[in-house]
């Protein structure tokens, strides 16, 4: 989860998120250098004593400031497209979970090996135990195995919602009448938090998502398979 006043991305829990963080660092460095150059140019413009009212053209400069941005855009676009296609790879998921958005809670369905369906409501502040996170913890978490490809089918029963888990690099809109799919493979166990990311009414900020990722052996022993 994010800590107070955090600006950067959360640590990655999936290979895709690792790639996204790498790409973010790459793009940020390029942006930083461009900003540095622009600020320097601005400084020079503001402090120059030179005035020349007879400049009619500057072909070389125009060529440079056309070609250079094109090269920079290619340098940014290529890794971006690589990650985009990586996210769409078909990887034979082991498990399919359905996630349905409501106002203002999520319903999860584990229908592969049984008929487990449950709602996940945010814990109201009065019901928090010591150590629980305000506005983030829920009554029923989504328990999933690590190191197994998982498919999430996301939809909504009423208005637009968005199912987000930043540490996995996931954000998928829940649209009524449409089934969106996202897949991920978690690489380390833990409890990971996300929040609804599409404005959906008064309690839009109070319908969090909590994933509890556990080793596969323990997941297989769990109640999911006893139903």
């Amino acid at each position: 989860m994010a800590h107070a006043a955090q600006v950067g991305l959360q640590d990655a829990t999936s290979p895709i998120m690792e790639e996204l963080i790498t790409f973010h660092d790459h793009a940020l460095m390029i942006i930083f250098l461009i900003c540095f150059l622009v600020l320097y140019a601005l400084f020079l413009t503001l402090t120059t004593k030179l005035t020349n009212t007879n400049i009619s053209d500057a072909q070389e400069m125009e060529t440079v400031w056309t070609i250079l941005p094109a090269i920079i855009l290619v340098l940014i676009a290529l890794p971006s497209l690589r990650i985009l296609y990586m996210t769409d790879e078909v990887n034979d998921p082991s498990l399919t979970i359905k996630s349905i958005g409501h106002q203002w809670y999520w319903t999860y369905e584990y229908t592969d090996y049984g008929g487990l369906i449950f709602n996940s409501y945010m814990l109201p502040p009065l019901f928090l135990e010591p150590g629980d996170l305000r506005l983030l913890d829920v009554d029923n978490r989504v328990v999933l195995p690590i190191e197994a490809p998982i498919r999430m089918m996301i939809t909504s029963q009423d208005v637009l919602h968005s199912w987000t888990v930043p540490t996995l690099g996931l954000k998928t809109d829940a649209i009524p009448g449409r089934l969106n799919q996202t897949t991920f493979t978690a690489t380390r166990p833990g409890v990971y938090y996300g929040q609804c990311s599409e404005i959906c009414g008064a309690n839009h900020s109070f319908m969090p998502i909590v994933l509890e990722l556990i080793p596969l052996k323990i997941f297989e022993m769990g109640p999911v398979f006893t139903l």
């Binding site: 994010a2 800590h3 107070a4 955090q6 600006v7 950067g8 991305l9 959360q10 640590d11 963080i21 790498t22 660092d25 790459h26 940020l28 460095m29 390029i30 930083f32 250098l33 540095f36 150059l37 320097y40």
Partner: protein, 115 residues
């Protein structure tokens, strides 16, 4: 990268207050070499030409080019290292899982080399 500092650990320091160069791989290395390159290029140009403004331009240009060059070089090596780490991790897992069975990678390798 995203964990808050534990009590007792030194506080995070960010360049210009928001650039997290400590936790971004290759960033600190690139910025430091870029700064060094900028100073060397700018000061060197000034020593030879005594032109202050042009030397500042060279310094800025040097900073950008050296930072970018170091950045791409370091990130390329970092990416290669990550791939090698991933391959090593997968091979170790396979070794642990299949040791002693017909799927043991070492047995396959020894079998093919003896043939």
């Amino acid at each position: 990268m995203a964990a808050p500092p534990e009590p007792g650990e030194p506080e995070e320091r960010k360049l210009l207050g928001f650039l997290d160069v400590e936790n971004t791989p290759c960033a600190r290395h690139s910025i430091l070499y870029g700064s060094l390159g900028s100073v060397v290029a700018g000061f060197g140009h000034f020593l030879f030409t005594s032109r202050i403004r042009r030397s500042c331009d060279v310094g800025v240009g040097g900073f950008i080019l050296v930072t970018l060059g170091c950045w791409f070089h370091c990130r390329y090596n970092y990416a290669k290292q990550r791939i090698q780490e991933r391959i090593a991790r997968e091979e170790i897992k396979k070794k642990i899982l299949y040791e002693g069975t017909h799927l043991d990678p070492e047995r396959k390798h020894n079998g093919s080399s003896s043939n």
